[in-house]
Amino acid sequence: MTTGEPLIVLDGVNKYFGPLHVLDDVSLSVGRGEVVVVIGPSGSGKSTLCRTINRLEPINSGTITFDGQPLPAEGRALAKLRSEVGMVFQSFNLFAHKTILENVTIGPIKVRKEKPAVARERGLALLDRVGIANQADKYPAQLSGGQQQRAAIARALAMQPKAMLFDEPTSALDPEMVGEVLDVMTSLARDGMTMVVVTHEMGFARHAANRVIFMADGQLVEDAPPAEFFANPRSERARDFLSKILTH
């Protein structure tokens, strides 16, 4: 599914929190339209990896390139980059004081200077796409977790991003809501969105990912197509991890 030069390239990235080496010489490239699922035990650096890509976390060494450009360090250039990379958080992070529709339109209106009416219309279309058009005028606290997360996805999509980052988008959800969010993500993947997804949902990894990346202790331990990875994990640690996740 990849075409031309890769969209996201990490090269020898190192990141420390104080003495803690959280990303240890990570190199990774994600092609356009590719869906990469990142798995690994808690604390292995998955979230951090995800966050470095739109510079919510600065890195200590190495380079990150997005769409052929090195990641800008600050200012308008950084804001522009971020507007091109959608991010979806585990805890939704919808703006609590704004309605769902306002959440979705604030980016287009304030950052891309779109006309409110235009942004509204497209916002409603996006909400419709994720299946919550009827909730547009409610506040986040009035929605279920699954609805909130879908709104968060719509908010990210409203910026028409070139890539989307998902950090455990379903792990704060009640089980019966996981499906609705994964469905939206799967349809996004089918439509050719470039996605980096940190998740524990092995079903999603199996049928929607192009590649699965296994991280442990800040290192990128395996990188393989899902079928290959699940059938035959190469490293001991991945095997161990999979056995814990999949048995019950």
């Binding site: 510079r55 976390e57 600065p58 800008p72 360090a73 600050e74 200012g75 950084l78």
Partner: protein, 323 residues
């Protein structure tokens, strides 16, 4: 980047760091110039830096130096005595009051089934009455300025034939106010604990009193330790109200010294520094404990960045003399 700035600021890049550096230098210079012209110069012109005024406070060879510091020492000792007595008494009474209020709350929900109907009604009425009374006491004593409470104690007690040393009026006045505040701190600490702690305790068959005593109270103390220390700072500051009832604490003695040496600014500077040093250290201790608490987590899951509202409340309450 520390937690508190991250809400506002992105991690700065090289340009931002340069801008910060330059504006720091400009601001620093502006501040120094401002301080010179607005504070140092006028004071200097009025001779406020003269050794005649400062000598007795800072120059050991000054004839009055040791006398002055003996007096200040005495005053500070009295301040500490009053504060220590008041805080201990407030803690004891406050804890009892907090437990009482929590118990009354569960008691008022009880129906006393299994007892004869009139007895059950009597007990219910009694517990309702008692909880209303404690509620009113709390509201009244929390709503009155401590100055007023102290003043009323000092004026009112002798009226009814109970005269003590001024120390005791001060301690009683401070205790009335602070025990109510501490009771509220502890109570909101207990109510702020995740409901699961109480439920888990009750689920293994502990009685309500046992639950409060062995599970809720100890954790409330831990969570609220910083707030309680802030309250100690409040008490320390409030002892300075002793001057209105002629208790010889630091400030009162300062006034006496000023009466002789006529150097108010200098004496008050020294007293202010004394208070700031002690109270600042206490606040730092509170912060340190707060940090250790949120690391050690020996209380049930109050998230680290979200201090319980009561801690905040009492921060605000520590607006000092009042609340």
């Amino acid at each position: 980047m520390s937690q508190q700035t991250s809400v506002l600021y992105d991690v700065p890049g090289p340009r931002q760091q340069r801008i910060t550096l330059i504006s720091s230098i400009i601001a620093g210079v502006a501040l120094l110039v401002g301080a010179y012209f607005l504070i140092y110069r006028p004071l200097d012109e009025k001779g406020q830096f003269s050794m005649e005024l400062w000598g007795p406070l800072v120059d050991p060879s000054n004839e009055n130096f040791s006398l002055v510091w003996e007096r200040i020492g005495l005053g500070f000792k009295n301040t500490l005595i009053a504060a220590a007595l008041a805080i201990v008494a407030s803690l004891v009474i406050g804890t009892l009051l907090a437990v009482l209020r929590i118990q009354l709350k569960s008691l008022t929900r009880r129906r006393f089934t299994g007892l004869a109907t009139p007895v059950a009604y009597l007990l219910r009425g009694l517990s309702l009455l008692l909880s209303a009374v404690t509620r009113v006491c709390v509201e009244v004593f929390r709503g009155l300025p401590v100055v007023i409470t102290i003043f009323f104690v000092a004026r009112g007690f002798p009226e009814f034939g109970a005269s003590f040393d001024t120390l005791w009026y001060l301690v009683i006045g401070l205790t009335i106010y602070n025990s109510v505040v501490i009771a509220e701190i502890l109570r909101s600490g207990m109510e702020g604990l995740p409901g699961g702690q109480r439920e888990a305790a009750e689920a293994i068959g502990l009685s309500p009193l046992q639950t409060t005593r062995m599970i809720l109270l100890p954790q409330s103390f831990r969570i609220m330790l910083p707030a309680l220390i802030s309250q100690l700072v409040v008490v320390l500051k409030d002892t300075s109200l002793g001057f209105i009832i002629s208790y010889e604490e630091t400030l009162n003695i300062g006034k006496q010294i000023i009466g002789v040496l006529s150097n108010p600014i200098q004496v008050y500077v020294v007293i202010a520094v004394l208070f700031i040093v002690v109270n600042y250290s206490l606040s730092k201790l509170a912060q340190y404990l707060q940090r250790r608490l949120s690391q050690g987590r020996k209380t049930a899951g109050t998230p680290a960045q979200n201090p319980p509202p009561a801690a905040l409340m009492s921060q605000a309450e520590s607006t000092g003399q009042g609340l």
